[in-house]
Amino acid sequence: MARIGVFVCHCGTNIAGVVDVTRVAKYAETLPGVRISVDYKYMCSDPGQNTIIDAVKKYNLDRIVVAACSPRMHEGTFRKTIERAGLNPYLMEMANIREHVSWVHSDDKELATQKAMKVMEMAVAKVRRSEALSKMFASIEKRALVIGGGIAGIQAALDIAGAGYKVVLVEKEPSIGGRMAQLDKTFPTLDCSACILTPKMVAVSQDPNITLMTYAEVVEVCGYVGQFDVKIKQKAKSVNSKCIGCGVCVTKCPNRKSLSEFNEKLAPRKAIYTPFPQAVPNVPVIDRETCTFFKTGKCKICEKVCPTGAIEYTQQDEIIKEKFGAVVVATGFNIYDHSNYGEYGYGEIKDVISSLQFERLINSSGPTDGHVVRPSDHKEVKNVVFIQCVGSRDESKHRPYCSRVCCMYTAKQAMLLKDHYPETQSYVFYIDIRSAGKNYEEFVQKAQNDYGVVYLRGRVSKIYERGDKLIVKGADTLSGAQVEVEADMVVLANGLEPKANAKELAQLFHMSYDQYGFYNELHPKLAPVETAISGVFVAGCCISPKDIPDTVAQASATAAKVCALFSKEKLEVEPLIANVNQLTCSGCETCYNVCPYSAIEMEDKEVRRGDMRHVAKVLESVCKGCGACVGSCYCKAVDLKGFSDRQVMNQIETATTELSTND
């Protein structure tokens, strides 16, 4: 007979406020095999854990049930606890009476208590069938993959490389730098974005530990922590390594049909191009969609003018296979496309521009050399209206979240405009000013007090053209008045959203993401850069909108996590894997076919003396424990440790019977 100890946690009032924990503990005592049951205020605290250890020794317990929060929260904690008490860590089960009971059934305390009793009883039933499992170890490939070459990816790569590990940095665009490279100045210090970013970009290109792959994308991922097999598609640049970055090809290219992505479509770009002059690497690529040669077979001017013979039209896309021990995903953001706002002109009014377009306009290396002029007629501006919360805090556009940075960058842009053109007047329509951050509130106050920016509290209802002016119909809710401003230009504070293909990338890694495509952290507070997939870390705006300091902090945090992982010789992995009872295996190969990891091998083996059979075998180091083989085995020869048939059947049986004491 098992000797089980049940420990019921109050979790302060989180559980005890709804569930009668003493009744749960009392009920546990009546269950067969339970020797002791205790309730305690905080089971995960030191004294709480010691209670468990003491009880194991005193009552000679061999199996433990902890009725507390979700196993996703504290399973690891309590496994370690009972290991300290000298038990096998897999002889512990958690009953989730917080997330699945007290927090969701607070409407009826009696029913909640009854359910808690039942949930605890199910855990007892399961743990009865638990088996001791031995730890497993896997090797670690000590190379990291960083996806995304914005400030987050750059920082993570530099930090990991600085610790002495090899890094591959993959960037989709022809150059690293990301969104930060597009910005003019940064809030609240107003230091020049490029001046603080470009040294880091150069450092990446010069670091011997970093391999930079631009114009490349991750296309396939297999494996798991310590052993990710990743396929990276290197798109054909049509320019080979002989390029010295002289730029003659770009100057001479006659094809100006495309619009520059880097300049937010405010200026044309050539078919052979580097996104911006400080690009790293400083190697141009040919955009085959627009290049005259690739479309008509004629031109080849770039080849003729290249002094080093670096143009290579025959280059092909290449798939490169690499092995990594850990991955940092830092794919960043897009800004919300304001053509969804009919009231702001469906994106068809030329002088209604996005915030990033404004950054390019006011940037001295931008398409207008820093002159803020109207895209429609290149006239200078006098009255500029800034509208906040475009694609943020807007349920009707399915973007109910706050994008966090718009209040600040709007204040910044209004100040920069005044600095450049003292005779201009800016108006900012806002709903609430969110300026939580070091020196942020002071910054916004400065915009209002020192720069004379007029802040109006209200959303704009409509923008339309009258002559060459834009009429902005807004409101100021504080005075209760309707406000109409005649503007030369309107700058929208577009919200932040994940990259268009964020979901596809998440699916490659099996990461979870929210309804917008932002990646989910493992825990929003205590594991903010980890994901549910061990070995995959996230940083920056791909998790949620955030500013540069927070992004950099997160990037360094991922680097610390990667380095901590790489500092181990061997990686401990969960032994919750499948195993085959070869005596009952019929050799049908179903499991072999369904296994997503090719962790099943068929072998011809003498399972009994003189009984030579074709049977399945689990490769322990490859199996991830998904149980697809278990669910599909016709003769019940495969089972899954930790979720065995006997354990689950026990749970089902308990779940479907009434509480035994309530007569």
Binding site: G342, Y346, K462
Partner: protein, 290 residues
């Protein structure tokens, strides 16, 4: 032949008789069979939905049920009637409880299958812009038309369906097809004051005045409407508005079927343009259309 259940609405049998006449003429030309719903009752207009939600749904429901029974799309040339029919249909779809109550008071069942279309959509989508082009006898060259949609045929967004809420294009496309020039302006969907015509006339004067002023500033020769309510506010009240603004606006307001009628070769009296307060005759003569 396209058969459509026709809900003319109260205005079309009195103040906007010319709209009804023009509509029937044009539809006959386009071989659209308008089957007038026998014994239709008033849609209730704005009054119904500000007095009782149930009245607002029950009045149009009778016509919807008739159209559903006879398996025809239902249309109204009046934007207000169209809006009420459509909203009654949508509200009953959204709120089964309301539908139940409507069925109780009318004593008939509605299966929610009626297809409610504004007359512009019947012509442009069901009949087809290309087919209309084929029938044109006279290009309306040189006529600058401000298409005024008003509130009720575009809002809320569910009503608008295939068109854009903020800058609808359906009438502009029609105007281009007829050879005239739709002007670019942004007061297409501003409100004319609608139902306040009798009760809060000063508001109507202000709102309609803004619209007329904007049309004039943007260089329109005439304003084209698809609603008798908009028409009476913009046309019949225009003398008062002119007086108020101290300018002579002299902006003819035509129904879109009248403009179509011109292109199809009908003349001034066929389309009963003499009924308008602002006579379009001088304008049309100067453009060589009459």
């Amino acid at each position: 032949m396209l058969k459509v259940a026709y809900f003319p609405g109260c205005s079309l049998s009195s103040t906007a008789k010319e709209y009804d006449v023009a509509t029937r003429l044009v539809c006959e030309d386009l071989e659209i069979d308008l089957v007038e719903i026998p014994e239709w009752t008033c849609c209730g207009a704005t009054t119904a939905h500000i007095t009782s939600e149930l009245t607002a749904a029950a009045l149009p429901a009778k016509s919807l049920i008739w159209a559903e029974k006879h398996n025809m799309p239902i249309t109204s040339p009046c934007s207000a009637c169209f809006s009420r029919l459509k909203m009654a249909h949508l509200n009953m779809e959204k709120d089964p409880n309301l539908k139940k109550e409507v069925e109780e008071v009318t004593g008939e069942t509605y299966n929610g299958k009626a297809e409610v279309l504004h007359l512009t959509r019947v012509m442009l989508e069901k009949y087809g812009l290309e087919n209309i082009k084929a029938k044109i006898k006279k290009q309306l060259k040189g006529l600058k038309i401000a298409c005024y949609y008003g509130c009720l045929m575009t809002r809320p967004a569910e009503v608008c369906e295939n068109d854009r809420v903020e800058n609808p294009m359906i009438m502009d496309n029609l105007v281009s097809a007829l050879g005239a020039e739709p002007i670019k302006w942004y007061y297409k969907t501003e409100c004319c004051g609608a139902a306040f015509s009798l009760t809060k006339t000063e508001i109507v004067r202000k709102l309609s005045g803004d619209i007329l002023k904007e049309a004039k500033t943007c260089g329109a020769d005439l304003v084209m409407v698809a609603c008798p309510l908009c028409h009476s506010n913009l046309d019949a009240r225009q003398p008062e508005i002119s007086k108020l603004l101290k300018t002579d606006l002299n902006m003819p307001i035509l129904y879109f079927t009248q403009v179509m009628g011109l292109a199809l070769g009908y003349d001034y009296m066929d389309l009963m343009m003499n009924k308008h307060f602002i006579d379009p005759k001088p304008l049309l003569k100067s453009k060589g259309i009459l």
